[in-house]
Amino acid sequence: MSTLTPSAARTTPAKTSSLPGIGRRGKSRMDPSRNNTAAGLAAWLLALLFAAPVLWMILTSFHSETDAATNPPSIAANLTLDAYKAFFGETSGVSPWPPLINSATASILSTVLVLVLAIPAAYALSIRPVKKWTDVMFFFLSTKMMPVVAAILPLYLFARTVGALDNIWFLILMYTSMNLPIAVWMMRSFLAEVPVEMLEAAQIDGANLILTLRKVVAPVAMPGIAATALICFIFSWNELLLARVLTGVVAGTAPVFLTGFVSGQGLFLAKVCAAAVVISLPVLFAGFAAQDKLVQGLSLGAVK
């Protein structure tokens, strides 16, 4: 152990680089298969443990209410769609569609607005950077670090004064401001991946700005833009505090609708699970689709 001083660690790479064959052999030695079996087993056990609540939620949503509320759990109980029928209002008369549509509207439109504002901003911060562009980047980041509770009262008072309370458009603007900093950070790192030589070549060939954007920048940046959009969608879909304070009966979103299940729904466990599954589905799809870029988005583009 004492041999592994920092200086030793620093000098040894030179040794491997002078003998190119050894590096590869060393790698295979580093991953002995028996170690991996143990690690794989442990990883799988933990993965199942972490996923258990999600899997249990899905399974319970397909149980009848009586089968759902048993101790010990009835894993092999008959599957039924009763809970989903109950959730979609066929038995209770309360439709989940308005909140689901509100959530979709708020999430999709705010994401579009974010892209419209963030793409030009990211362009001005990466491809033709303005002076002091790092300062601007950190200003964007600092707005994300301010807790929502610190601004929510003036927003609420403003909305109440101008009659924008329980209005989906006001919520859309709020979600746009919530996601804009993250989107600018992510998008900047994606646009920075466009090779400078390609931009210069396009300029020499006399391509104008629009053509350059379409033919050079867009193909490289498109996957990143798509991932950014998915992440903004997830954040808007998940948001509760702003929606709870700023909306009500008309513009209430799906998470606000879910809070109706917080108390007194213990007797309807399968229905609660069905509601949770339906409302989480868009996020699960978007999240798995954006898996690889998710870290980059959540760590504000600092980690690739």
Binding site: T12, I22, G26, A43, L240, L269, A302
Partner: protein, 322 residues
């Protein structure tokens, strides 16, 4: 030589003219560069900075919307109340406890998971996908599932599994937990650790996979033990990622509202500052007091965020240097 004579032969005002032109041209160019940035910048300043300034102003006012006659300047009265009122002080303490414990626990578990997932094994992609799932359930939905399907004392999964395991050994008196009423803070912490561990794992996994392997291989050839490699190579490399994960996690968890609202509704000492502020202005209509508490949260967050910014900045500089 020729340029020098040309410059000398020209009268002064003639020389100034092109340079002024060039300057205005340069200025126009700078504005053309700034133009795409401005809509986003202006929008953010109006929607996030302006309301906070208003919060700051309200925090110095006596303002309860139910008694409009008593509105007036309050000085630091609201701040004194926030720091001395037993409930609000408890909320500050709860916020710190919640944030620190959730961040530390999810970082440690996330690190373990990231180290496991960094190795190659059968079905690694699927295991990773399963592990991300907790992070992708809508937070309110996740909290509801914990409250009703997992922690419910009579038919929740956790007590159900305990009953089933004890019955395997022929016992019909299994231990039964009631976390929600006996240790509600623990219930909130456990559900948040479950939800945030995948986030830490993803960041640390990205860190592990950016680790330069030649150093590790060299250390192995020198006979270093796996522990030595972890302690002296992996951990130092991961430091920035641990810091980043911890600080971003802290910034999100300080603001947590969904779990506290859903699981316990702030009962039994689980009220954190965001929930307390929500109650103070939404139900008690104490606008001045709520604003002062909001400013306190911002001051706390600025302290954490300063460290976060420094960490992001160092990673960022590394990237810019590439």
């Amino acid at each position: 030589m020729t340029t020098a004579t040309a410059r000398v032969s020209r009268p002064g005002h003639n020389a100034a003219k092109p340079s002024r032109n060039a300057r205005s041209k340069e200025r126009a160019l700078a504005w053309a560069r700034r133009a795409p940035l401005l809509p986003a910048l202006v929008f953010l300043i109006i929607v996030t900075q302006l309301p906070f300034v208003v919060t700051l102003i309200i925090s110095f006012l006596n303002w309860n919307s139910l008694s409009p006659n008593k509105t007036g300047f309050a000085g630091f009265e609201n701040y004194i109340t926030v720091l001395t009122d037993a409930d609000l002080r408890q909320a500050i303490f709860t916020t710190i406890l919640l944030t620190v414990s959730v961040v530390l626990a999810s970082l440690v578990i996330g690190l373990g998971l990231a180290l496991l997932l960094d190795k190659k094994f059968v079905g690694r992609g699927l295991a990773r996908t399963l592990l991300i799932a907790p992070f992708l359930v809508v937070p309110v939905a996740a909290a509801l599932i914990w409250k009703h399907a997992l922690l419910n004392p009579t038919y929740g999964l956790i007590n159900g599994v305990l009953t089933w395991m004890w019955s395997l050994f022929g016992s019909d008196t299994p231990p039964q937990l009631d976390l929600l009423s006996q240790a509600p803070m623990m219930a909130v912490i456990v559900s948040l650790v479950w939800q945030w561990t995948p986030f830490m794992m993803l960041i640390l996994l990205a860190g592990l996979q950016s680790r330069p392997m030649d150093t590790v291989e060299a250390a192995q050839m020198d006979g270093a033990t796996p522990w030595a490699i972890f302690r002296h190579l992996t951990l130092p490399h991961l430091r920035q990622y641990l810091e980043l994960g911890g600080l971003l996690g802290a910034i999100y968890i300080v603001q947590n509202f969904d779990a506290v609202f859903t699981l316990t509704a702030g009962g039994l000492g689980t009220t954190n500052l965001p929930y307390a502020i929500y109650q103070t202005f939404y139900f008690a209509n104490e606008y001045g007091l709520a604003s002062a508490a909001g400013v306190v949260v911002v001051i706390g967050t600025i302290i954490v965020a300063t460290f976060a910014l420094r960490t992001v900045f160092s990673l960022f500089k590394k990237e810019a240097a590439r």
